[in-house]
């Protein structure tokens, strides 16, 4: 019985972990969209340009782009890590299984 309870708790924790992760990913994406709308560039392209040093001319401390780019870069880097964690967590079970568990937890 204890083993069964423990398994149930672990299932609920995993469901909650994924739900929390999704909420976080959505918040980050919401922030990223603001920059994408403002500058007309998708975050992936901006990030790759920043990482490859193509945007050095903007590294001049001028506002508002300097602060925007600082945050945009950091947010996308964080998004990449969360996306990877989501994939890893989800890969530990089948997607229908996750949906069933979410329904049970709800």
């Amino acid at each position: 019985v204890n083993g069964s309870k423990l398994a149930t708790v672990q299932i609920k924790e995993r469901v909650m972990e994924l739900q929390r992760l999704i909420r976080e990913i959505h918040w980050i994406e919401w922030q990223l969209r603001t920059f994408e709308d403002k500058y007309g560039v998708l975050s992936r392209d901006f990030y790759e340009a920043m990482e490859s040093g193509q945007l050095s001319e903007f590294d001049d401390g001028e506002e508002p782009h300097f602060h925007d780019f600082l945050e945009w870069h950091g947010l996308y880097k964080t998004w990449l890590k969360r996306e990877q964690l989501y994939r890893e967590t989800l890969s530990q079970q089948s997607l229908p299984e996750q949906l069933h568990r979410a329904l049970v937890a709800a």
Binding site: D59, E63, F66, H67, H73, G74, L75, T78
Partner: protein, 130 residues
């Protein structure tokens, strides 16, 4: 490595922990997530103002992006809550108040969240001595 709750405790009790801190508008948003943004300003004696921006990743335990600007305000901040903190820091970041251009921040590596308390402490100690 500090968890979010510990970091909130640190940030929201700065004036209590450090006598040289007069006022603080630092706020961590959004609530409840491992990704959060810390913004606001901290005022010290001699009308010195520290504008703070941090993008924190509590899951990895790093400050992914950060920016600090120290300046001396023209008129003393004596009100609480502080007036127009966001505008003050924007102006500070834009070079209207500050005296130097910051380093190449987007390319700077993140550092552990444990370091920020140390770094902030050093800043406060520095300001106290100056």
């Amino acid at each position: 490595m500090l968890v979010r709750r510990q970091y909130e405790q640190l940030v929201y009790t700065l004036p209590d922990q450090y006598p040289s801190v007069r006022l603080s508008t630092l706020v961590l948003v959004p609530p409840g997530l491992d990704t959060a943004r810390l913004t606001g300003l901290v005022t010290f004696d001699s009308d010195i103002v520290l504008c703070v921006y941090e993008l924190l990743d509590f899951q990895q335990g790093v400050i992914e992006a950060y920016r600090y600007e120290v300046s001396r305000c023209h008129s003393p901040f004596t009100e609480s809550p502080l007036p127009q903190a966001d505008e003050y820091c924007r102006a500070s970041y834009a070079g209207m108040i500050r005296g130097h251009i910051p380093a190449i921040l987007p390319r700077r590596p993140p550092f552990p969240i444990t370091s920020i308390s140390h770094q902030t402490s050093n800043t406060i100690v520095f300001l106290r001595r100056s």
